[in-house]
Amino acid sequence: MAHTAAPHGGHGPNDHGHHDDHHDHESIKVLGFWMFLITDVILFGTLFATFSVLHNSTNGGPTPHEMFEMPGVIAETFILLTSSFTSGLAVLFMHKGNKKGLIGWLIVTALLGASFIFLEVSEFLKMVDEGVKISTSGYWSSFFTLVGTHGLHVSVGLVWMIALMIQIGKRGINPVTKRKVTIISLYWHFLDVVWIFVLTVVYLMGVM
């Protein structure tokens, strides 16, 4: 239990210069982001709990079995999985100090993310067209909320990623932009993991 905080603890009292001070700051922010991600785990967990409890509450209306179209969902899955991989490649190039590679892979990641959102939105629109809305029944309320919350996370990540690319373009690779890329790639991997559970619990169990 008894770990010392020094010398990594906070604003350096120790004999490191300003530079290291900065480094500690950035590593503390990465830890804080981990903490945020764990609160997000709880957030999605609560949505999954609600979905599980309401999974039979179709109120005599349309069932998931009738509505889901798996080819689109499978395409979304592989797109997001690949984007998780490419965001990892971006981090790899960043650590090599390769700014062009970093921005390039971030662009690929963002494009894959955008096509994921495009497919998801068209899937939702098609469902609404066929008469399934958030107000259709308890089941569809929890479906649209759970999947939509994930989609909202991905969309926010896209805006964030674009803002980050501009910053890297302007300022290059430095401890601050490095930390920001590290954080967004964690976020992106995390969203991929959440999607795997959406695929399993919502879609695969829904069509069984």
């Binding site: 981990w34 695969l204 169990m205």
Partner: protein, 108 residues
């Protein structure tokens, strides 16, 4: 700026290598295809299928944690790992607890 940082703790930052990303990616694809194939072709009964696809999802979660998110490569003490474990305990409690309690009050 950080490239000429020669302090010891910079070395075990969460870098990963191309190899680990590729292994992680390949394993993830396999673990995604397996449950899709099993479910789409009705290869098993309902309960075994649910158990199987949940195991595949959890495995993929573990793979991504280690190969993509480099969970183990942070400095010690690994507060993020401790928090994650606690978080997963609470997560299981929320989901299993809700299902357990609400079975007595099911609607529809």
């Amino acid at each position: 700026m950080a490239n000429h940082n020669s302090h010891a703790h910079d070395e075990h930052e969460s870098h990963g290598s191309l190899k680990s990303y590729v292994i992680g990616f390949v394993l993830s694809i396999v673990l995604t295809i397996l449950p899709i194939v099993v479910v789409m072709n009705d290869m098993m009964d309902k309960t075994p299928t649910i158990i199987f696809i949940l195991i595949m999802a959890v495995l993929q979660f573990v793979i991504q944690l280690f190969f993509f998110m480099h969970l183990r490569e942070d400095k010690k003490p690994r507060y993020n790992v401790m928090a994650l474990i606690f978080g997963l305990v609470i997560l299981v409690t929320i989901i299993a607890g809700s299902i357990w309690i609400m079975t007595y009050n099911a609607v529809g």
